[in-house]
């Protein structure tokens, strides 16, 4: 969400800190069930079952990687067949100009190369990760803290309810602030 937009709307957030992944897991699914607007959770390592707890579907990146692989395969075969059989056919050891079986290794390597690089590229672009990305990092979240962020955009947001929910799941501390990004 662009920052200007949130400033206009003056959206505030509440961040709850936990020190066990189980607490964050149960708190996240609890918050979702209680109708809070869960922005995101932050963890020092990927927590098993967190996608289900926050209601995140399967990533489509696997399909992108597959399509990129097909692209690499097509490019590899087209490059080899065109250069060897059409642009400048050379007789090498009496082999046919289109020596298809011999083109498999390079086509395979290009499949892997395209698939891997495009998957990574899309990952970085999709998460807007690059060298100069500046992002809000919650205290100790890359070390040993598990953080859940709730948005207070809704008029129905009730701090008392939220605190009660956090407390049920052994919260350590709670902070409030403007748009978290």
């Amino acid at each position: 969400m662009p920052a200007t937009n949130s400033q206009e709307r003056n959206v505030r957030y509440t961040a709850a800190f936990f020190d066990k992944e189980e607490d964050l897991l149960s708190a996240a699914s609890d918050a979702r069930r209680s109708g809070f607007e869960l922005v995101d959770v932050f963890t020092p390592f990927p927590v098993h079952g967190m996608d289900e707890a926050v209601g995140l579907g399967r990533s489509r990146l696997t399909w992108i990687a597959f399509a990129a692989g097909l692209l690499g395969l097509g490019f590899g075969l087209a490059l080899q067949i065109w250069t060897s059989a059409y642009d400048w056919p050379l007789n090498v050891g009496g082999k046919p100009f289109n020596s298809f079986p011999l083109f498999i290794p390079v086509a395979f390597e290009l499949t892997v190369l395209f698939s891997g690089l495009i998957a990574i590229g899309v990952l970085l672009a999709r998460n807007r990760m690059w060298f100069f990305s500046k992002r809000r990092v919650f205290e100790r979240v890359t070390d040993d803290r598990f953080v859940m962020v709730l948005q207070q955009s809704d008029a129905s947001f009730d701090m008392k309810n939220a605190l009660a929910l956090f407390n049920r799941h052994n919260v350590l501390k709670v902070i409030e602030g403007d748009q978290y990004v």
Binding site: S59, P105, G116, T142, L172
Partner: protein
């Protein structure tokens, strides 16, 4: 502007709750660590000044590397005539070293990709440094074919780019060209796989270093990582995709390296057994190198809680399996030599075992087929000095395997009048020493700059086999 609302209630740590150990499985990380202790243990290695031991080893490696650079410069400026090659033996030390280093690299990918797909959680303590080893080993390997070309400044001619020579395209039917594609793809994919794994840990380092320079450095490299679950979710998907891509890739790389030999008509090379034989040998030698490095690293850096005896034992078992596959391949080669009825095939076998290079052949057989069989004994698998000695011997053996395959197959060819002997010149020995210098220099720099154990993955398996 953020305000802390309240500290709701003080809580004690959860140390005691994790202390009960499962009766069925052993924890992967010893010492009952908390998340914070993991961060501290690994980051402190980067924050402290390097000790005297590090400087001594670094200086030696650096000097070796410089010697290698000088010998390489001598080769490039004078020509391949500075090497001990002749008309009969056109490949020797250079290609031996090339295959040796590529093979070393394979263990890193095996640990980071194949063990990941098989959900082997013990890989988390060693995958980072094993992958770094892969990258450095592939760099060392890449040097040899390039300088072997004779005119290394034209190495880019191997790329299929439109040029003003026609365009004269590269010969896609040549395994040597496949090699170029395989190894550059392997290097690129391994590098991004390794870097992607590093990003969350670089963020951990960024968030705790004091100096501005370091914070800027790790800040740049950590790509704004903030541990968001959305990011983690996509990150894990791509990590899985890369592991699935790297698995067939690593098998293809050494298979293609073996095609360099197998597609020729030289007896001793022209064999369908080569691809699996080379892949097994590569994983075998790579694991031996990982064990050598890990034993030294855990000892010097006091990482016994992270790289436990269990890790070493598991690696010994992989080495035993792959070593036995290699032994089977040696046996099969002899059998086929006898069974084929081809006098040239038979001659290569007899010449290897009893000819002028018999000492190299028997070094190879002893180190690769016999010594690893000691890993059947649990006492050997759990004795650190024994593993260290055996892992070094395996690497010596695997270096000789490549030497034997290359030189003994070439030196007595179809015409007895062209039989010759090969001995390396001092230039070749220095280039080889230089590749070891480069390997250790780069590995020691890696230990100082990057977290050598994957903190985020170790934290994920920290409670493995501990009741909550």
């Amino acid at each position: 502007m953020n305000v802390a609302i309240e500290h709701l209630k003080p809580r004690e740590t959860h140390q005691a709750e994790h202390a009960v150990v499962s009766s069925l499985r052993k924890p992967l990380i010893a010492g009952n660590k908390s998340y914070q202790e993991v961060t501290d243990d690994i980051c402190q290695l980067l924050e402290a000044k390097p000790g005297r031991g590090w400087w001594i080893v670094f200086s030696i490696s650096f000097v070796l590397m410089v010697a290698g650079v000088a010998a390489t410069a001598h080769t490039v400026m004078t020509g391949i005539g500075t090497w001990g090659l002749n008309k009969t033996i056109g490949w020797a030390f250079d290609i031996t070293n090339f295959v040796f280093w590529i093979g070393i690299g394979h263990a890193g990918t095996f640990i980071s990709a194949i063990l990941f797909l098989f959900n082997q959680k013990w890989r988390t303590s060693i995958n980072r440094s094993a992958e770094a080893m892969t990258l450095i080993a592939v760099m060392c390997a890449g040097i040899f074919p390039v300088i072997h070309m004779g005119r290394p400044w034209l190495f880019y001619w191997i790329l299929p780019y439109p040029n003003d020579r026609g365009s004269l395209w590269v010969n896609f039917r040549s395994p040597l060209l496949w090699d170029f594609f395989a190894i550059s793809t392997y290097f690129i994919i391994s590098a991004v796989f390794w870097y992607l794994g590093l990003v969350p840990d670089l963020a951990t380092v960024r968030d705790r270093v004091k100096s501005r320079f370091r914070r800027g450095f790790y800040g740049l490299l950590s790509l704004g990582w903030n541990g968001s679950n959305r990011t983690w979710s996509r990150y894990e998907t791509v990590y899985l995709v890369l592991a699935a891509l790297a698995t067939p890739l690593v098998i293809s790389v050494h298979s293609i390296v073996s095609f360099d030999f197998a597609t020729s008509l030289i007896p001793g090379w022209h064999s369908t057994i080569f691809p699996p034989y080379f892949v097994a040998g590569a994983v075998f030698s790579g694991f031996a190198m990982v064990m050598t490095l890990m034993i030294l690293v855990r000892w010097v850096m006091r990482l016994e809680s992270y790289i436990t005896l269990q890790h070493l034992e598991n690696m010994c078992k992989v080495t035993l399996l792959t070593g036995s596959l290699v032994a089977l391949a040696y046996f099969t080669e002899i059998f086929i030599g006898l069974y084929s009825g081809n006098p040239n095939e038979l001659f290569v076998i007899v010449n290897r075992a009893g000819g002028p290079y018999a000492w190299a052949y028997w070094t190879m057989v002893t180190c690769n087929a016999l010594f690893p069989q000691l890993f059947w004994f649990e006492r050997v698998r759990t004795s650190v000095p024994a593993i260290l000695v055996l892992s070094i011997l395996i690497n010596v053996g695997m270096w000789f395997e490549r030497f034997v395959i290359i030189v003994t197959s070439l030196h007595r060819d179809f015409l007895p009048s062209s039989w010759a002997m090969y001995w390396p010149t001092i230039t070749e020995v220095l280039i080889m020493a230089g590749s070891f210098g480069l390997f250790f220099t780069a590995f020691l720099l890696f230990l100082r700059i990057f977290p050598l154990i994957s903190m985020n993955e170790v934290k994920g398996v920290l409670h493995y086999a501990r009741h909550k």
